[in-house]
């Protein structure tokens, strides 16, 4: 990366690969690009390699090959300098069960060489407040519900101001209300300038807050990009309804415009829009004298795209 490049990436990987000793390839040469300031939805079914990727980004697991950069610095070498600027939630919250929520945060803060002990109490209070755990701060972690544990994990990630948040399945175990709150929190942090990489196996839970989406399946990054651009991609279809006498003319126009998979279904024609603009198509049809009764453009939803790419049902990815 050079200082002059137009986009700087908060997270970037090049050919990142992890092959476990068992021979299983958990992550297979992925090139992740999370632009600064983005909310990047890192999606994929359970077992698709999201968590292993995140573990490699944080220097917990060594890549078999490939490289990773966090905030423009090479990991795991620069971990000491970079990780204090990164808040994390990896594979669910983990705390000492016999300590209270606030004692667990104190423990983490005391272990952090960059944390100022003088502001420790205030920062812990603020973080607990932010995730709505103030009332349960003194309760032992053992007694926390799954949702409270998840909230404490988020509080730990927010103990210090962060430039990047890596949140692995932050909505796991939360009820719909809690999930909404997490989304709200992510939006709030993003508005304040924090880049967020958030993983989930449930697209619907995070789709609304994401500016970018990456979809993993079987260890590969199947697709990534801006959310709007992804939904617009290739698969957009157009349906033209006309009178029985104009069907042939309409089909000829669509073919002439280079639309693929033109097929008639009674008086309705379906085609893949491809690179053509919907306005051009409708104008050409009208120009050819086609009696246009209906004209519909259907973009595949992200959900359809996700299912299309990763498969459906209960089959675990591997």
């Amino acid at each position: 990366m050079t200082g002059g490049s137009p986009t700087s990436f908060a997270v970037r990987t090049a050919g990142l690969t992890k092959r476990f000793r068992s021979g299983q390839v958990a992550v297979d040469g992925i090139d992740l690009e999370v632009p600064q300031g983005a909310v990047y939805g890192f999606l994929g079914p359970n077992g698709s390699g999201k968590t292993t990727t995140i573990r490699m980004l944080l220097g917990l697991v060594r890549p078999t090959s490939g490289r990773a950069w966090l905030l423009e610095q090479s990991m795991p070498g620069a971990g000491g300098a970079v990780l204090p600027r990164v808040g994390v939630l990896v594979e669910g919250p983990a705390f000492h069960p016999y300590l209270s929520g606030s004692a667990n945060l104190r423990r983490l803060d005391s272990s952090d060489a960059t944390a100022d002990p003088r502001t420790s109490r205030a920062r812990i209070g603020e973080a607990l407040e932010r995730v709505g755990l103030t009332a349960a701060a003194g309760k032992s972690y053992r007694q926390y519900s799954l949702g409270m544990k998840q909230r404490l994990g988020l509080a730990a990630a927010l103990l210090q101001p962060r430039e990047l948040l890596v949140l692995d399945e932050p909505t796991n175990g939360l009820d719909p209300q809690g999930t909404r709150e997490v989304r709200h929190l992510i939006r709030e942090l993003s508005d304040a300038g924090t880049t967020v990489l958030v993983s989930s196996h449930l697209l619907s839970e995070i789709e609304q807050v994401c500016s970018h989406i990456g979809i993993m399946g079987r260890g590969r990054l199947l697709m990534q990009g801006e959310r709007g651009a992804l939904a617009d991609d290739g698969a957009t279809r157009v349906s033209v309804t006309t009178t029985p006498g104009d069907v042939a003319t309409a089909a000829a126009v669509l073919n002439a415009l280079g639309l693929a998979e033109v097929a008639a279904d009674g008086v309705t024609l379906h085609a893949l829009l491809g690179a053509a603009a919907p306005g051009t198509v409708s104008a050409a049809l009208v120009h050819a004298g086609v009696d246009l009764i209906g004209f519909e453009v259907r973009r595949p939803s992200l959900e359809q795209l996700f299912v299309q790419l990763t498969g459906e049902g209960f089959d675990v990815a591997r």
Partner: protein
Amino acid sequence: MSPADHTAAAIAPAQVPGSRWRFLRSELRLVFGRRRNLALLAGLAAVPLLLGTVLFIAQDAGLGGQGPGFVGRVTGNGLFLVIAALFMCLPFLLPLTIAIASGDAVAGEAQTGTLRYLLALPVSRTRLLGVKAAAALAFAVTAVLAIAVVALITGALYFGLSDMTLLSGTTVPLADGIARMAGVVGYVALSLTGLVAVGLFFSTLTEVPVGAMAATVILSIVSTVLDSLPQLAAIHPGLLTHHWFDFAEFLRIGVDWGVLGQGLAVQAAWVAIFGSLAWSRFMTADVSS
């Protein structure tokens, strides 16, 4: 990529002075605040209490002066309860306690999953291992002290403290006797450092703390068994447990520091070997717990 690196390095949060001690204090609070560990210490402290009580009740039963390892001398001088209690705890109870504390050090954090969060803070792996080792050592020293202090108090209350008669029959003043007991406590505590290093190493190998604890206890038992086979006399001097009972040197009129030094040198070797094994293993380990 240097310009970006420079800016980033410039705004990287600086380490707060004294953060090392803050982390160590936090670790000590964790170890000594844990109920299981306190129960272990209480259990060890109960040994001299029970032993003293039994000896006190039975002292008129005509068995006076009998029993293994200085037990017979306790009724005459409470100071000997320190030695008798350590003598009873050293073969099994102390190694078990040390194994639990040191085996839990890294594997315990791995099991609860807190290890990944510590490393992502980040805490450097070397610093984490160092703090874990320091806390485990502190626990070992506390365990030995717990036995010795309770033994001294119990002995004083039941039997009184008096001038100490050494192995040779010579008597030294009480103050000298207490200083010798302090020497015994110090030697026993240092004798356990090798086992702490072994436990720490096993602890870096697994996410199951019980496994690391068991392996550590087994190693100390195997060492004792090998030490009892005369056919293996050649390897005896290097065994982890071989010099443990050399603390009796402190009961001779002229303490042979050479014998004690040899025992401590063996411990230092075990610490060096298993300390570096633990470090090299932990530095490269994938943390997937």
